[in-house]
Symmetry: D3
């Protein structure tokens, strides 16, 4: 089996994490997984949504979008169609849930952080790149909150990162790009903490079920890839 | 650890599958997982959606809803609010995807089956009950298509069933009810084929990550529970 | 003239009223007029809508829906289309208005009751079955409010019930089922109190106008049928 | 009992019907019932809606709206809020249904007439004024169709007109204006053909039920009032 | 060059401004520019929108609509389609912005005036007629506020009026009607104060750019026409 | 008078035009006017919208959006709110109209080009930057069409570019940034062709009217600035 990109089965695409990509947001990151490019911003607000008021905890939520021509064929603009599609909703719920697992919401105080992940160029794996980049933006936003005196210490419990794995032409592979993703038999998105814990697993058999041993192989690939992503996140935050 | 219901950790709630629950749909099933009750109908249409026309294959899609007072507190009616919520969208995509993995879409011909899962009483696990009941309704709909001469042989590749598993008070348990679900540390929904293959895994750490060994325990519980569900599906279809 | 069902012109379909059909709502009734089956729940909330605040009175409102495959051909789901259709709006306004006439809103205090009527199987007369069943659910909800100490005495002024009448093949008939309804020349829905008063009359000539004497015959049939419905409501509440 | 306007109980408000009020529509009428003023237009289109194609019959539908400041307090604009309210939907369905009863839809051929009733000033009875004025606009539109050769003979079966009646301070009165309407115990809208047949009756007890004898008195008032309206329609069409 | 209407290039259509056209609004004007007829109402509310609270200033906003059959071919009703079109939004923003320039918002106090411009018959120039008529309605509303004691002195800084100019068959013309507008090479809407200042200029080349000298000619025509409109406004207000 | 940025009154911000910014669109440009950054893509489709079919001409349309945190304070995402705001609609109509003036639509054949302008960072002048960048993307898209054989020769009639001018602290200035824009007395957006013709002028007095001589000064500044922008466009296309 030859991957379309020529990568080995356990090889990530080149990953780049650029902080302070735009100037207004408390955290702003351009994350690139190969040709997949996502702008991730983290915006801080004092206060929490209505359903949490007075409970002494904070909130993190996420929204996701794709520029209409981030893809090979132009997609209709969701704002113009008047609603977000099902895939968008599913992805932004995943991003928000994952990032909440990175933070001690009590320690965040009654403050909110809104994550926006906007795909400017898509080549597979937009949701895993989004989570990986958003966690870096989140750290920058937390540091901005500390600098402003909104909180005293960081509520961050762990860094999280995410990658996709799948069965492509019968073989488990790491970090699928679009040509692989669109013909993969199985597609799995995994989110792990840098303490090794599993935050989220979403595995889908596109046509044929996968076996437990295939699952185990994919999980192993994901662990390897995410360990590298955690290193890249740390390097970006150190720079 | 004592489960609120007094069940053992690997014990399903009483499950009932009632076919021909309503009279109009080609397949109509009331599925009960304890106090969770869902009406699952399968509706047959000649033809396929626009994006599949002329490709010689069929389509299966699903919609999900909850009656406003299926829950302890009345929820706003989605039709009145003018949009389906994110959770609804996420669940109906899962149901549709899972059921498509049960069927050879080519063998379905250019026909569509729409699954409707409407929760009339909720007590945790509505999506897994929906999938389990909908697969029985799907079989009835396929048989109706054969009876009408729309297709000659059944395109069913496997029965699928689904159950939730989770970590409740530190221990893996099978088939969470609402009191368990609302305080579980981890919640995982698993869809398996009766040939043992994995169709879908969706596991979420609500606050703390889970470990690979916890994952393995949960998967083992799910396999046991789903094997029982497959027996109950077969018994229902045989009656 | 022979009715499709073989009933006599002044004969109701078999009517069943099942209380406590689901477990969460303060009032929950399954009402069946023959093959028409509607789940009617009454949900209690402290407080009133904005436009009534501080006026020392309560409110009763109603919402109506049909499961997509409650009918012979699947209807689009209103939540998915993003709006309630005109027929839905018309029916839920009728149900709410009728039930408000059953209750002394001042005596209800600043509390609200929301009625949900969800048709799970349709065979004509869904709005009249809804009103008849909802009034029983309303009584259960009122009793729950008394039990909780929200109000001291019942604000119920009268029981209301409803039936359809029409001109079918030239002759006035009681309680039209779908085959009759779809070819009736005239269709009238009547809501009466058990004190004999008229709460609502909605009569529509589908193609040809009807005469005053036809109207009188239909009203007489409705009075007979509704008297029986009031007996059935009382029996259900007594059990 | 003294009516706020000083009218006798069986007295209509001054009614004016002005044809060709605007220049583009095939039929355009300004109808005034006292201070209630409605622009009724009838627009002709070749062709019918999708659900009627190929059935050799025409269609008549209606839409209703109120200018935001047609009322004492400004109402939100429905176009800006993004949906028509329940009252609007209920009224436009009544108008459409009533006018379809005036026409032999087969004789209309596969053509459509859209009625628009836009209230520019409201003082009670906007729906009955709308129906009365729209029927005149409909006749003008039919004549325009004959003139254009779209149909050979008029499909009009009867003129229809409408008025409200109610119980005001315990007494049945004809043609309620806003001060009466807002405090009436019962409100009934009646649509009659000029052949004496009943097209539509919608009677609602606002708080207390009404009796059969009250109903009979109201119907008698409506018949007297509508007979006068039919004369005014004929006079307008003759001028 | 001959204008379709036979007017000279610098000639307005007959303009009529009728005050107190409807009875409920604080200001209500029917404005006619030839066959273009618009009802302009100004509605007064104590209080300001959320974003202005506590800033000691008032607000003026505008909404615009067309009756469905105000035009040669019936347009879909925006309320029924569930959204306002782009042209509507663009026009109502222009009207609101222009009228705010007529008033000292500080001197208005924390009060709001809502302008509604509803076109009942369209023949080109509906936005310019709207602005011209709305300014008169605004003055009447301000006078009503003074009479009610909401404000002590008039916050009006200047009267504003508006007209369209364009290049029709190569020549600059004033106040385009629909036949001219639909084939004009350039279309410009100009709003001027009666103190000679420019409030708004919106000029659009439909196909070919226009030159600075053409612009100067059009501006001169607009100044002439608007001077006449200011006279007509003053005459209307004096009557 | 000192501009906040220290620029002279007739000085543009640094402008950068980066072609092939993303990889999928036929034309893709990042345009920067100082800190204002907009991604402009041009997407080619065979065929035209319904209302133009069979007329032998093409179509160009535009959509505009801002990333939620492109601004100092996070704006709600239009896709999540379910509608585009009035400002968005106004801007995208301006962009589309302006670009259609750059192209001979007949020579485009029955093909469509959709322009998407998405602001990733905002600092005033987003609409003028959008038009300037989009015209370069349009040229790249036209060249791609020629390369694919969809058209033989370029339908481009002229390059267009746009800049804002305004009165800031009493003095006309070129290319307002956000600090200037938010306190300017007058704001004007001008679109010119490289043949000197005026495509669009939109000038708005925010509070006080502007005079003809102020208008002339602003137009002169705009001509100077746009001449420079046309040079920058040409340089970008030559590179």
């Amino acid at each position: 089996m030859q991957r379309p990109s020529g990568r080995s089965v356990d090889q990530l695409r080149p990953v780049r994490i650029t902080r302070q990509f735009t100037c207004h947001a408390e955290g702003s990151v351009l994350v690139e997984f190969g040709n997949t490019k996502v702008i991730c911003t983290a915006s801080v607000d004092a206060g929490v949504p209505h359903f949490l008021r007075g409970q002494g905890q904070g909130w993190i939520t996420a929204e996701y979008g794709m520029l209409p021509r981030s893809t090979g064929t132009r997609m209709g603009r969701e704002a113009a169609r008047g609603k977000q599609g099902g895939r968008t909703v599913e992805i932004q719920r995943l991003i928000g849930r994952s990032l909440r697992a990175a933070v001690d919401l009590k320690a965040l105080g009654e403050n909110s952080i809104t994550i926006d992940c906007d795909v400017i160029q898509a080549d597979g794996g937009t949701r895993t790149a989004s989570i990986t980049g958003a966690c870096v933006a989140l750290v920058d936003a937390i540091n901005a909150m500390i600098a402003k005196g909104m909180i005293k210490t960081s509520p961050l419990k762990r860094m999280i990162a995410s990658v996709s794995v799948g069965i492509y032409e019968g073989e488990p592979v790491l970090d699928l790009d679009y040509p692989e993703d669109s013909s993969a038999e199985t597609d799995m998105n995994i989110v792990l903490g840098d303490d090794g814990g599993i935050i989220e697993i979403q595995g889908t058999a596109e046509a044929e079920p996968f076996s437990e041993s295939e699952f185990a192989s994919m999980l192993a690939l994901a662990k390897k890839g995410i360990a590298e992503l955690h290193q890249l996140q740390k390097a970006a935050l150190a720079s």
